[in-house]
């Protein structure tokens, strides 16, 4: 048996032997936690509109996002967010809370390497790609729209 054949066979064997995540419980958990976080956003928006009747809906949604970002960052700081994340998986990663957590968690982790090269530069190890992708994609879309 040549080496490539052996390796392919071994990897197929490992793949078959690997324990799998039971999909349904984890799908359900991500569904309900994600749904609740979105509802929380909607609630904050409604509260903003209720207490500040002259606020625009767009601004109210922005406040909702900002509140969720601060909340997620705070829960990261007190060491609770990762526990919710371990339970909910994508339920906390996909909402804006995941973005906030991805900035706050390396900030906490790397502050021991100093403020500049630790906290501030490592803040973007996970969120950096998100911002870069967003900026690049939006500029490309914007330019396409300029020509059509």
């Amino acid at each position: 048996m040549n080496i490539e054949e052996r390796n392919a066979k071994y990897n197929a064997y490992v793949e078959a032997k690997m324990p799998k995540t039971k999909p349904w419980p984890s799908l359900f958990r991500s569904f309900w936690v994600g749904g609740v976080i979105c509802c929380l956003g909607e609630l904050i928006k409604d509260l903003c509109l209720y207490f500040f009747p002259y606020m625009t809906t767009a601004d109210a949604y922005t406040w909702a996002l900002i509140s969720l970002i601060v909340l997620a960052s705070f829960f990261t700081g007190i060491g609770v967010f990762d526990k919710i994340g371990a339970y909910a998986g994508a339920g906390t990663i996909v909402p804006i809370t995941g973005f906030s957590n991805s900035i706050a968690s390396p900030a906490l982790e790397f502050k021991r390497e100093g403020l500049v090269f630790g906290l501030m530069s490592k803040m973007f190890v996970i969120a950096g790609p998100v911002i870069v992708t967003g900026v690049v994609a939006s500029i490309i879309v914007g330019i396409i729209y300029l020509f059509i």
């Binding site: 052996r6 390796n7 392919a8 071994y10 990897n11 064997y13 490992v14 032997k17 690997m18 324990p19 799998k20 995540t21 984890s26 990261t76 700081g77 060491g79 967010f81 990762d82 526990k83 919710i84 994340g85 371990a86 909910a88 998986g89 906390t92 990663i93 995941g98 957590n101 991805s102 706050a104 968690s105 390396p106 906490l108 982790e109 790397f110 021991r112 996970i126």
Partner: protein, 339 residues
């Protein structure tokens, strides 16, 4: 005349013996299955330090000092320290050696370092190059997580094949003595890579290396797996050790109930570690506590300790390389005619 048999196995004719050992573990490991065997269980894995890296180094220093004390020898008689860890440039070991001020060799064998250091120590003692050799290694969950995976507070799920890096250290002092646990043979492993790329599935990456070394050991010494009371792999985990059993069976060796894996054993099933423990500290802490204790009580007569290591880095993983692995085997025994 060469002190070796077969292709990869060393024979220690002067019988270097374990004259002292010590293990230090974190709180989670203390709550696991071997809590009562460890010499020291920390309440806080920061160990009074400002960072986990500093805590790791302090724990390793504590294990080495503990073993020297346990051996009841003077530190100045330790002619060589062999130590390694998982941190970049093995800072934990070197920083511990800085404080100790003994002749020092820094080793990197990833999680195989306990066996690697024992082999190097045994060679030095057997060859008359050291009166006493200290062999130490360890790992720390929080520093390893930071270096190899994600920030601790990042909200992600661990994949079901993942293992939990053990916060634990172990140190063995070897020297020549009249009686006690002796190091008889050592089989030096070759780097083996069967093209596993998933860094969350170390057990599968390392199992072929363990198989290669175990097979070489049995062929070189002419022993069969049943000749050992215990064959103990370092940190293959549940999946990896099942794979090893299958691989050995494929090559015509049957591993029975005398086979176990430190990673599989160390944590309680309720501790949510999926495939079990991993890291240098996994094998090191169990060997230096549980295994020696049972050998000294003559509950075990001879043990084959095979520490396995995955020799990749975060850079190599990101560049899509597969995970080369290594395993070293050390044959340890007590009793027999020379006691």
């Amino acid at each position: 005349m060469l002190n070796r048999i077969g292709n990869q196995t060393l024979v220690f004719k002067n019988k270097p013996r374990v004259i002292g050992s010590y293990s230090v573990v974190g709180p989670k490991e203390g709550q696991g299955n071997f809590g009562k065997f460890f010499h020291k269980v920390l309440k806080d894995d920061l160990f009074g330090e400002k960072s986990y890296e500093a805590a790791e180094s302090k724990m390793l220093l504590c294990a080495i000092n503990g073993a020297i004390e346990n051996a009841n020898i003077n530190k100045d008689n330790v002619d060589a320290l062999f130590a390694g860890d998982l941190m970049n440039q093995i800072i934990s070991s070197s920083f511990a050696a800085r404080t100790l001020e003994v002749p020092y060799f820094g080793l990197f064998g990833a999680c195989s370092t306990m066996a690697e250091s024992l082999i190097m120590g045994a060679c030095h003692v057997d060859g008359g190059f050291a009166r006493y050799a200290a062999c130490a290694t360890g790992s720390h969950f929080s520093s390893a997580e930071k270096q190899f995976r994600y920030p601790l507070e990042l909200g992600t799920q661990r994949p079901p094949t993942s293992q939990w890096t053990v916060t634990g250290m172990g140190c063995t002092i070897l020297g020549l003595a009249e009686k006690g646990i002796s190091i008889d043979y050592a089989t030096i492993g070759k780097v083996v890579d069967w093209d596993v790329t998933d860094a969350n599935n170390m057990g599968a990456a390392m199992a072929p290396a363990a198989m290669s070394t175990l097979k070489a050991h049995l062929e070189d010494t002419g022993k069969s797996p049943d000749d050992y009371d215990l064959i103990l792999t370092g940190d293959l985990g549940k999946l990896g050790s099942e794979i090893l059993i299958d691989l050995m069976e494929y090559h015509g060796y049957k591993l029975g109930t005398n086979y176990n894996d430190c990673g599989q054993m160390i944590y309680d099933n309720t501790q949510k570690t999926f495939m079990g423990g991993s890291g240098c500290g996994c094998g090191a802490s169990i060997l230096n506590s549980y295994v020696y204790t049972r050998l000294l009580k003559h509950e075990l007569k001879n043990v084959l300790f095979i520490a396995t290591g995955a020799l990749m880095s975060t850079v190599s993983s990101q560049q899509g390389n597969s995970i080369p692995s290594i395993a070293h085997a050390v044959s340890i025994s007590i009793g027999g005619k020379d006691v």
